[in-house]
Amino acid sequence: MKGGGSMIGITAYGGYIPRYRLSRMVIVQNMAWYFPVIMAVAGGEKSVANWDEDAISMAVAAAYDCMAGKDRKSLDGVYLASTTLPFADRLNAGIVAAALNAPEEGAMNADFSACLKAGTTAAISALEAIQAGKKDSVLVAASDQRKTKMATMYEMFLGDGAAALLFGKDDVIAEYKGSYSVSCDFVDHYKGYGKDFDYAWEERWVRDEGYGKIIPEAINGFLKQSGMSIDEIDKFVYPCYFTGTHKGIAKKLGIDPSKLQDNLHNVCGDTGAAHPLVMFAAALEEAQPGDKLLLAGFGQGCDVLCFEATDKIKDFKAPAGIKGSLASRVELTNYQKFTKFRDLIVADLGIRGEANPNTSLTALWRNRKMILGFVGAKCKKCGTAQFPALPMCVNPDCNAVGEYEDYEFADKPGKIQSFTGDMLAASVDPPAVYGIVTFDGGGKAFLDFTDCDLNQVKVGLPIKMSFRRRNVDKMRGYTGYFWKAVPQVQG
């Protein structure tokens, strides 16, 4: 039976910004010859997803960050918000839920898509379901990895990232104080079905008539509806990648500039449908008990949500969060590498790279916990943790049959036992680094490594697991995922 305490709100948050950062000057140096206007926004850097990341994999990273220390088995649903989902028909949120080993029975997962405010809309939907007593615990993950044409303002403005918010009733760290929405068909840009790139209308119109008018209208609407005054709010969180307009909106509303949450333009760029939640997670990292935070998402209107931080916010810390993710950075100095990672240029993978075996959906269904959740087994008879879990226990002194219980490796730290960097393997980022990992608590696995420089990889180095895109089958339109080991070079 659903129910419980009267206070509802945010019970955890997490964030993920991929570690590569591309200085906008690098784009300018490479592409200003073609479109000099980009020099106007040449400051700062943008986050760039690695070649094996996409909206789903980044959502999983943010979701794990959010759910650290929380019970993933008690989730009633996973909502995924993104405009860059790999599947048009196959629940993308279902992949995230499977990666989290979230329950199947009694759960309802959903995709929120086709709009940059999908993240805030998903959040309101989750909160209203909890408010209605229909659900106790819903995870909302928002993530975007937008492909941009070379030498465009979008290439300058947009970054990649994800954030996740857990909504529920227990140990609320920020109480939900209500929401208000404006919905209108204001089309600042659109992406047609099957198209790779956004199609944008004139910036001046987008700034002045879009962000500049619709966000204030929604915030004022919320204040009017709730009876709150603008001075009661301690932090305003809304996206707008035009930094001048971002500040101009605050000025127009009479907001003290110190109360305006940074739009992260300088450090990661606008992360699309994820951005309101990314900025909001960053705001929660700094929030004090009693702070009132207003969150707005923009796109074909505007959603406004209001929260008040509780005493419990002092006790919560996401393992990485936005601050931690931003601190873990590696500069991508090679613009060609960026364009190859986004598949904007054609580089030869060789005949070896043409291999494209079909993914067996029956095998995937049977092995979904193993593949998407990185679930192995622990033998109840001898206690051996193992991956993969073949029918008989791997311990030569045991070999028990049918004595397994599920054992999740995704959140287990491990160490590198052996490794190589393979120049022969077809990879868009050679060498392909892989090796054997032994897990703390038992078990080992033979895995691809990612987010690492071969020169820094050593036997004995700690690793963390990361859910990654494993293959893209362009012929059939399929994207496959599995887990990779990320060597922890620092610390």
């Binding site: 005949i351 030569p396 052996s418 490794f419 190589t420 393979d422 120049m423 393997a425 060498p431 392909a432």
Partner: protein, 402 residues
């Protein structure tokens, strides 16, 4: 009580093609070439062969499934022909099928033939194997290649024994330079140019720490053997008889890839199979009794750790023996006298039989510039798959009743 295979089966004849980039020849031409040498050496007629086994690995890009390719290429007289595939042990598996058939008394004379046509795929290295690892493994295996999979041994070994990986690489370079020196003496070898250790060390990186010259040749070729009982061999007028002393296989059962007790620095299977093979052959001290070896040097690091897994170099001391020249052509136990996979080449299904061909020729004093003095026992070793899951085959041959 089983008594093992020792001295129950004799090699009546052998044949082997020149290995290499045989652009003009398909697997059928290669098989016929090896077979013609073999049957002439055996001194029998084709219709005296009662059963045959054929070893190939990459049937998808090679001969196709079934043993029909061998039966048709050799125009065998509608006898039983069985295709066996067990990764790089496929050639030795074919030999084992023929040897066991003779030993069992099921037939008097049997043929084993191995073939691989690798150079029809259009790119370097082995054929890509993402569709050959099984439907479930295809969902999660790393993006690996053969050199990468074996390269893992180097970092694992260096870490286990606390040695600098550059010192491991130096011993690996000695291994490759030695095999090139031997291959240069072999007219049937694929790669016949000597190289220096420095050239090996500086060759382009393929899979860290393996450079190009740490990797064996990818070749086309075929090798075959005709086997019978020692009694029949004698009755056919053979006086100098090479017999099978041991034939052992060991396969991983999944502990290396999934159980914590494997160190990533040795082959569990080779360790087991070699012990069983010495026992079957009646060898108690392999370091003293084995005269020569052809081991599976698909990569120099494989040969390196195999020296310990064969119980010839003590654990942790292979580098010392290698650098001392113990395994050189003029050393105590010459390893790869024919050039090895490194230089003779590695048409997978043929390799096990090609190794036996060298041991057979050495024992019969037919090895030309590479001839060793009075070899008694020759050991061959194949290792298919990857260090963390593999198939190991070991054969020991020697003078009959020696």
């Amino acid at each position: 009580m089983a008594t093992g295979i020792r001295d129950k089966v004799a090699i009546l004849g052998m044949g082997c093609t020149k290995f290499g980039e045989r652009w003009s020849d398909g697997p059928e031409e290669l098989m016929v070439e090896a077979f013609q040498e073999c049957i002439a050496d055996a001194g029998i007629e084709k219709n005296e062969i009662q059963a045959a086994w054929m070893g190939t690995c990459f049937d998808e890009v090679n001969v196709g499934k079934s043993a029909l390719s061998a039966s048709m290429a050799l125009r065998l007289p509608n006898i039983s022909v069985t295709r066996v595939e067990n990764f790089c042990a496929s050639g030795t598996e074919a030999f084992r099928g023929a040897v066991y058939a003779v030993a069992s008394g099921a037939c008097d004379i049997a043929l084993a033939i191995g073939v691989e046509k690798l150079k029809d795929i259009g790119y370097g290295g082995l054929p890509e194997f993402s569709s050959a690892i099984g439907t479930t493994n295809a969902l999660w295996f790393p993006n690996l290649t053969a050199p990468g999979g074996f390269a893992l041994l180097a970092s694992g070994y260096a870490a286990k024994y606390g040695v600098d990986i550059q010192d491991v690489k130096k011993a690996m370079a000695h291994i490759s330079a030695k095999s090139h020196a031997n291959g240069a003496k072999n007219p049937k070898a694929h790669l016949r140019r000597p190289v220096t250790e420095e050239q090996v060390m500086n060759s382009p990186m393929i899979a860290f720490p393996l450079g190009l010259f740490d990797c064996c040749g990818v070749s086309d070729g075929s090798a075959c053997a005709i086997v019978t009982t020692p009694e029949i061999a004698k009755s056919l007028g053979k006086s100098d008889i090479v017999s099978v002393k041991a034939l052992q296989l060991a396969l991983s059962n999944g502990t290396e890839i999934a159980y914590d007790n494997w160190d990533g620095a040795h082959f569990v299977t080779t360790t087991r199979a070699s012990t069983a093979a010495y026992k079957e052959a009646g060898i108690t001290n392999p370091r003293e009794e084995i005269s020569m070896m052809e081991v599976h040097d698909c990569f120099s690091i494989t040969e390196f750790v195999t020296m310990e897994d064969l119980h010839i170099s003590e654990r942790g001391t292979a580098a010392t023996d290698i650098m001392d020249g113990f395994y050189d052509l003029d050393g105590k136990i010459p390893c790869q006298p024919d050039g090895g996979l490194k230089c003779f080449g590695h048409p997978i299904g043929a390799s096990g039989l090609r190794m036996l061909y060298e041991m057979y020729n050495q024992i019969l004093g037919r090895a030309g510039d590479r001839q060793l003095k009075d070899p008694k026992f020759g050991l061959t070793h194949n290792l298919g798959g990857f260090p963390m899951m593999n198939v190991c085959s070991i054969a020991i041959v020697g003078r009959y009743e020696a």
